[in-house]
């Protein structure tokens, strides 16, 4: 399926618009190598979340190419992208990552129970061993049987990270996962996340507007610098949208 030598992410001539004629993203070229930890920085409204949607295969580019692990999303069906995401990607949301009515253990197990290929990567290890391993790395092994509601926000984000990492996906995408955490916990969380990614040889694409975290990453990408849509039509981007709606 995926090319083992291909870069983790490769974008070329990417354009994306929610409404025709109003590009939110226009990126000529971006390559992220395997096992890089990338800090994707940009202010609110700069298209960070949209870019992550494209990388996760949840959104489909209007034009241009999105290649993840050598796979061109534009040639894949929505179902194939779902399967690809389940197999190769881990995803951590800003907050509310967990399914509230499942236990910590069940939340972590979701990806490998949903996707056979991800399950296969556990090798001979049992589900329980895999959960224990990843939970141990993220220091939540004590909470495996707790109800979600009893966990702190920091613990919940670590559970989300554990879920993203189980079954060793090649790429982990994190969408401001630390925004709800205080500074001490942020660094602790990132430390655990980096360790786990390193162990799994996973590429980490981390989006945030928080500059203080930058030094921890191997690479910084300033989204406004590469997103020509935001630069070129700074006025016609977000502010122009209501006017456009008014005309329509």
């Amino acid at each position: 399926m995926s090319d083992a030598t291909a870069p983790a992410v490769e974008l070329s001539r990417l354009r994306f618009a929610y409404r025709a004629g109003h590009d939110v993203l226009a990126i000529d070229h971006l390559t992220i190598a395997r096992a890089e930890t990338v800090f994707l920085h940009g202010p609110s409204g700069s298209g960070k979340t949209t870019l992550l949607g494209l990388l996760a295969g949840v959104l489909q580019a209007t034009s241009g190419q999105v290649r993840v692990l050598g796979q061109d999303f534009s040639t894949m069906s929505s179902g194939a992208r779902d399967a690809f995401r389940a197999r190769h990607l881990g995803y951590v949301f800003q907050m509310f990552n967990l399914i509230p009515y499942l236990s910590v253990r069940e939340n972590i197990l979701l990806p490998i129970r949903l996707e056979a290929a991800r399950r296969a990567r556990l090798g001979t290890a049992s589900f329980e061993a895999a959960v224990q391993d990843v939970a141990g790395q993220l220091d939540i092994a004590r909470h495996l049987d707790s109800p979600i509601a009893e966990l702190s926000v920091g613990q919940q984000q670590r559970v989300a990270a554990a879920r993203a990492l189980i079954g060793s996906p090649e790429v982990v995408i994190a969408d401001e996962p630390t925004s709800a955490l205080d500074t001490d916990r942020r660094e602790r969380f990132l430390e655990l996340l980096f360790q786990s990614c390193a162990k799994a040889h996973a590429t980490l694409v981390f989006v945030s507007h928080d500059h203080t975290l930058m030094p921890l990453f191997s690479r910084i990408v300033e989204l406004p610098e590469i997103n020509t849509a935001a630069r070129g039509s700074g006025q016609s981007g977000t502010p122009a949208a209501p006017a456009g709606r008014g005309r329509a």
């Binding site: 992550l52 996760a56 995803y91 399914i99």
Partner: protein
């Protein structure tokens, strides 16, 4: 199965919404199935008012008139039937038994039925229940009465209570038969049919009652009847003795009818009533004349003259038919008279006429056939009886006809039930949909960790189907639980037997509709989830 685990866990996590949704579906299913059960119960109990009787035969009149007046005691019969007519038909090869049924008197608002003890044997109601006695026994002597359970309850009568019967259906202004007091000898067990509201006496009882009245002089003046007990008694003896002869004569008349049609009527035959002028008190009955509605045809001590049998209230035979019937009947009467005269030891013309006058009048008679398939044929034969205009009805058919007329209420019930289901299904949609709003995040997470749209769809459809299914199961359980609890009280209070029975096609159709709409409704939020979770899932504002 992950999906089952997810569905159950998700439903359990919203336990209140889930329970309320299930309850709302269950209640409307209860309503649907309950209405269906009540409807079936009402229909069943209605159809079960009379069973075991293949034909009810009364004077010529409407089908419903015969049914209502005899079985339900509503309205008045179109007229009366001669007892001899009943006996004549009793001799018919297809007839197994006949039971006379004589109305016209009442006791404190309850109708009095004159019949024989065969009535209690032959009458069936509900499925195949027989009339049973809660106390006492059948009336045998002419002073004995049997009362229905409502009568016993309302009037607090029991075996041994003396009873006074009144002519006519109301107590006021009519003559009471004080001269002939009755005594209760039996109380019938409750049947939840009009039987419960009736008083039963023997035919002799009715006869004796009216005799007593004649003696006491409180009845309508009936000079021509002679007015003495002896005469009346004698007449009935004669009439009974000559039954066979007259039956033969009538059969002969019927078979001769075709032949006699083209023949010119014998001069004067239609009105020929040898030696007997119509009694002065008898209302004039002319062909085509309609007596005032409700005129009782049973006139104590004053039976109509022979000519009157050709004219029945409400019957409007075309003149040609009247003519034919007249002929035939006249022939039959003449023939019967001849034979009676030949066989009877007292051949006075006056006595003969008197015997025709005195031939007991009954309101109707019930017929059981030897073979039920012959009922239809027999009905046709009776309806074309040339001697006496009769209307024979098949009770089941007539009840069905009546139900057609009054059954529109059940359509109303059904419409209500369907509205109830529509409302509860809408409620289910609202509940599922609003829960989905709260679960957008959940859907986004599932999609992000690799759940495809198919899994999301299956999850939501599974959940809504599960709710609908549980609602159906609980609703049906409610109905049966309700039946178990309320069956007795409802039967006692309303006389409505709600049978505990397996679900029928109608119920399964209703349940199917509820299930399928529950399932389809799951598609709506599922479709919405499919469309929005893609965007929602990655949007920070969600």
């Amino acid at each position: 199965m992950l999906i089952l685990r997810l569905a159950f866990a998700s439903l359990r996590s919203r336990v209140l919404t889930t329970l309320l949704t299930i309850a709302s579906i269950a209640l409307s299913v209860t309503l649907l199935v309950g209405i269906e059960t009540v409807r079936a119960g009402v229909r069943e109990s209605f159809a079960g008012t009379i069973r075991g009787v293949d034909l009810i035969v009364g004077a010529r009149g409407g089908t419903l008139q015969v049914l209502l007046s005899t079985v339900f005691g509503i309205g008045s019969p179109a007229g009366s039937v001669k007892r001899s007519t009943m006996e004549r038909w009793e001799a018919h090869p297809a007839v197994k038994w006949v039971v006379p049924y004589s109305l016209g008197d009442s006791h404190r608002g309850f109708r009095v039925v004159g019949t024989t003890s065969d009535f209690y044997e032959r009458y069936r109601f509900r499925r195949d229940s027989r009339i049973t006695f809660a106390a006492g026994r059948a009336a045998v002597a002419d002073t004995e009465v049997v009362i229905g359970s409502d009568v016993a309850e309302r009037l607090t009568y029991e075996v041994g209570t003396p009873v006074v019967v009144v002519h006519g259906l109301r107590d006021i202004g009519t003559s009471s038969h004080d001269a002939h007091p009755f005594r209760v000898v039996g109380v019938l067990a409750r049947t939840f049919t009009p039987i419960d509201r009736s008083v039963y006496v023997t035919l002799e009882g009715i006869e004796a009652m009216h005799e007593g009245e004649a003696v006491a002089g409180t009845g309508a003046p009936a000079p021509a009847a002679g007015g003495t007990t002896g005469v009346v008694r004698e007449e009935s003896t004669v009439s009974r003795r000559s039954t066979k002869d007259r039956a033969a004569a009538i059969v002969e008349a019927n078979t001769r009818r075709a032949a006699s049609i083209p023949v010119a009527p014998p001069p004067g035959t239609p009105m020929a009533m040898p030696g007997a002028e119509p009694p002065p008190g008898t209302p004039p009955m002319m062909p085509g004349a309609t007596p005032p509605p409700g005129t009782p045809m049973v006139m104590p001590g004053a039976a109509p003259p022979p000519g009157a049998l050709l004219v029945m209230p409400g019957a409007e035979p075309p003149p040609a038919v009247v003519q034919q019937v007249k002929q035939a009947a006249a022939t039959a009467v003449a023939s019967a008279r001849d034979r009676a005269a030949a066989s009877a030891p007292r051949p006075t013309t006056a006595a003969d006429v008197e015997h025709d006058h005195g031939d007991d009048q009954i309101t109707a008679f019930f017929v059981g056939t030897k073979n039920r398939f012959e009922a239809l044929m027999l009905q046709r034969e009776m309806n074309t009886d040339l001697v006496e205009p009769l209307t024979a009805i098949i009770p089941g058919v007539a009840l069905g006809e009546l139900w057609q007329n009054i059954g529109s209420a059940e359509v109303g019930l059904r419409v209500i039930a369907i509205f109830a289901v529509a409302i509860s299904i809408t409620g289910m949609l609202v509940a599922l949909y609003s829960s989905l709003e709260a679960r957008r995040r959940e859907m986004a997470i599932l999609r992000a960790v690799g759940a495809g749209p198919r899994l999301i769809l299956s999850l939501l459809v599974l959940e809504s189907t599960l709710l609908a299914f549980l609602g159906c199961v609980i609703g049906v359980a409610f109905v049966y639980a309700g039946l178990a609890i309320a069956q007795g009280p409802i039967e006692q209070r309303f006389g409505l037997h709600l049978a505990v029975r397996a679900l029928g096609t109608t119920e399964y159709t209703y349940l199917g509709i509820v299930l399928v709409s529950g399932m389809l409704i799951g598609f709506v939020p599922a479709w919405k989830a499919y469309r929005t979770s893609l965007v929602d899932g990655l949007s920070p504002r969600a």
